[in-house]
Symmetry: C2
Subunit: 477 residues, 2 copies
């Protein structure tokens, strides 16, 4: 999905102001076109898990293709002032922005790829000014979609072979919070969404039947079910908990019989409150006894991967899982915390200089260089054995451990020209589903003992340690 097809304004200003003030600084100092390398990565896996599912690249690359500033953007920037009341930006800088076209190289991990933080999801190499401004929109898109795709993959893993339906639009974070959540949820493993616009824009299957309000509108629940069956006979999943759930299932069976007499089938019942495990057993029993062994028991109500896993472990006969709030908001960790760090910059002589950001917290010390990620595949099991982050500036690739070892970042842009083929969302979804199955069983756990193993190639680790030692003395180069 190209954000330009969704949004009317130019998205050039979709960035933090400090990116533009830094850009103005680089321009003023004659450094706008100084070549730099930035990496976008998450420092650790979300949700207490060991891995993430890369997502958001399609929309991010589409944004880069159309990136730039229009007249209204520049007119707005010209109105901004500094602390002396004078203009914040010089006219020459605004003219520079006006003529700007994206001209960077981008290498990135395809959507649906399983990744082990802190491996980079994306590397951008090109003019410092451009790469700097693009930090924010790239993070906005990749952070959120990777977060939600990962949550969806965890939920789908817990649900096993059962379909997961994403129902979250009403609790999503704004309109496109909902649209992009639906996209990422499907990519990560959801089977369908309730969000009709997302269905249309992204070609995602859509699902839905009726709410409590339908039942409340009619004189009683049997009438409500009968009327729904009359109107939409090929879409009958009755929501049975408006008044009394067990009674509701009996009424659904009665409506199902009338439906069958007309040549249609009851698709299922939905439980949306109460003790879902116990109610599912009772609903299953009533459906089976009533002659509807193929009608599904659908469950919803604040579900997530942990609740689904617990219900499955307890043997709840639930066949379809409706997941909303906790999926689209990533309820237990609503941000991935991905960052975008300078890895190297060319000096005035054109030589690459590695760069590092220090921190008292070792996980926050950045990784210098021009990074790539080598995935090692166990030749015997076919499982992903672990990844090695390596730098083309520091010793090159690690030795292959097997014939299926491969690098994860693939070329997307060269000199501002798109060089990859856009990938259909369903293909990325299939990749995500297959990737999770390539994890060793211990790594696949929702709360693994350790994260999926990711290490630095020894020459890169040594170069980083040397930079840390020098930077600690205030001399990063």
């Amino acid at each position: 999905m190209d954000p330009r097809a969704l949004y009317r304004p130019s998205l050039g200003l979709l960035t933090d102001l400090y990116q533009l003030t830094m850009a103005a600084g680089y321009w003023k100092l004659g450094m706008a076109d100084r070549e730099a390398i930035f990496h976008l990565f998450a420092r650790k896996p979300p949700f207490g898990g060991g891995w993430a599912v890369a997502a958001g690249l399609g929309p991010a690359l589409a944004l880069l293709e159309g990136w730039g500033f229009d007249r209204a953007d520049l007119d707005y920037l010209a109105t901004l002032t500094g602390n002396d009341g004078g203009p914040l930006f010089e006219e020459g800088f605004l003219r520079h922005l006006e003529g700007l076209r994206f001209s960077c190289d981008v290498d990135a991990v395809p959507e649906g790829t399983l990744v082990g933080p802190p491996a980079p999801l994306l590397r951008i190499q090109g003019p410092l000014l451009q790469a700097q401004i693009l930090e924010t929109p790239l993070l906005t898109i990749l952070n959120f979609q990777t977060l939600i795709a990962t949550k969806a993959a965890r939920i789908a893993l817990a649900a096993g072979d059962d379909p997961v339906l994403e129902f979250g639009l009403r609790r999503a974070q704004g309109i496109d919070g909902g649209l992009s959540a639906s996209r990422a949820a499907y990519l990560g493993g959801a089977a369908a969404t309730s969000n009709v616009l997302a269905g249309r824009l992204f070609d995602i299957p859509v699902k839905g039947t009726h709410a409590h309000s339908w039942v409340m509108v009619f004189e009683d629940e049997p009438a409500a079910f009968a009327h729904y069956a009359d109107a939409l006979p090929n879409n009958c999943v009755f929501l049975v908990d408006t008044y009394d759930t067990v009674e509701g299932v009996h009424r659904a069976v009665a409506a199902g019989r009338a439906l069958r007499a007309r040549g249609h089938e009851l698709a299922g019942v939905r439980l949306d409150s109460g003790d879902l495990g116990a109610l599912a057993v009772e609903a299953r029993r009533i459906l089976d006894a009533g002659g509807f062994p193929d009608a599904a028991v659908v469950a919803s109500n604040d579900l997530d991967e942990h609740r689904i896993a617990a219900l499955k472990a307890a043997g709840a006969p639930i066949g379809v899982w409706g997941v909303g709030t906790r999926l689209v908001t990533a309820h237990d960790q609503p941000s991935l915390g991905g960052v975008y760090k300078l890895g190297a910059v060319r000096d005035a002589d054109g030589a690459w200089q590695p760069r590092i950001k220090l921190s008292e917290n070792p996980v926050k010390v950045s990784i210098p260089g021009c990074l790539q990620v080598r995935r090692h595949v166990d030749p015997e099991t076919g499982f992903f054995a672990g990844d090695t982050i390596w730098s083309a500036h520091h010793g090159g690739p690690p030795a292959a451990q097997g014939p299926d070892d491969h690098d994860l970042l693939v070329p997307c842009f060269r000199g501002g020209q798109r060089v990859d083929e856009p990938v259909p969302l369903a293909v990325s979804r299939a990749r995500a589903r297959a990737s999770v199955q390539r994890l060793a069983p211990a790594d696949r756990a929702l709360s693994p003992e350790g994260a999926y193993p990711v290490s630095l190639a020894p020459p890169l680790a040594a170069a980083r340690a040397a930079l840390v030692a020098r930077a600690g003395k205030g001399d990063p180069a």
Copy 2:
């Protein structure tokens, strides 16, 4: 902000599929224009607090003004199938959607108004089909913006007179997750945003200076500060923690002296890691000793209302607060959980029939009727004394307890025509700031002993109890 100015596609499909299948059912049964009343409300205040700040109404009303389905929407709906492979929707229903124009009455709480759940934020009265479809987009917009405005109001309350800057775009939930978060954060009390597009679209002040990457690009930190001061002399807040924070403050003072010699002033330093309280004391001391008593100490790094309150209580000399992830994602409670419930529907004879949704959980039992919220204002203190939810169908308004008592929901649409004046965002922001100050001090606490007092008018409470008793027997009417 009108969503039509932001989004290219028609937003008619921005809803859950089940709203459209129910709509098809109402149409099929000849009930599309049956009049109904729905209320949108949060069941309880977010974040363990006692109140919320209403937000999102402006965009929601703009969406209603332009609401409808275009040809592409209907073509898409025509492709959907049911469980027998046949079309889900009849052609007649799609033609009905094609001719649809918004024709409801809407009454709602103006943005920036302090509200006490479960008081309704919005009431819609009109054709059942329309009101049903609009449930999802109204919830999407009002839930999220109310959540973020409330979070911002709590953060601003903790920060007292200090400005709060919203820096969250990179961690926001998609592009418009970021745009609408910036809008709601400003409405709730933030002083500015880093999000330049939000600044342009919503007329919000924008702020920002430089990131770690600026410092990392140059040969060392003194050079980085000096270059920034050269390029942007009227926008100097130096980020001092790239290598060693205390050393960074000394370097900022040195750069500030050079800046002053050129006729400009150092605006401040920013701390983004470490022990913010201790570092702020040290930074303040160095700035004061260096001749910069007016330069601000700006703090950022995973701040929220609780961390700000703790730093303020400890006397940290921080003058400006940069808040990102925890504000724009509402980190500790990323969804408001607002709902939209049927209050009444006309029967075939045109008489209003109250409606209720039962639940084992008393807080989830809905409130029947045609609701309004009476705010009682203490005549002596001017503080908000509490609210009474009353129903025009059940006994009318409660007696005034003072001359400033007033109703919160105001007319916005009559028969599909907009009747209110759009309110500038800055006016809504001022209302929010003033409203919080009208809370009694005990109610203003971030973790109050009890929620802001909201009760049902006695006739409404009695009518609800009678409906609960009847509905428990499966006879809601």
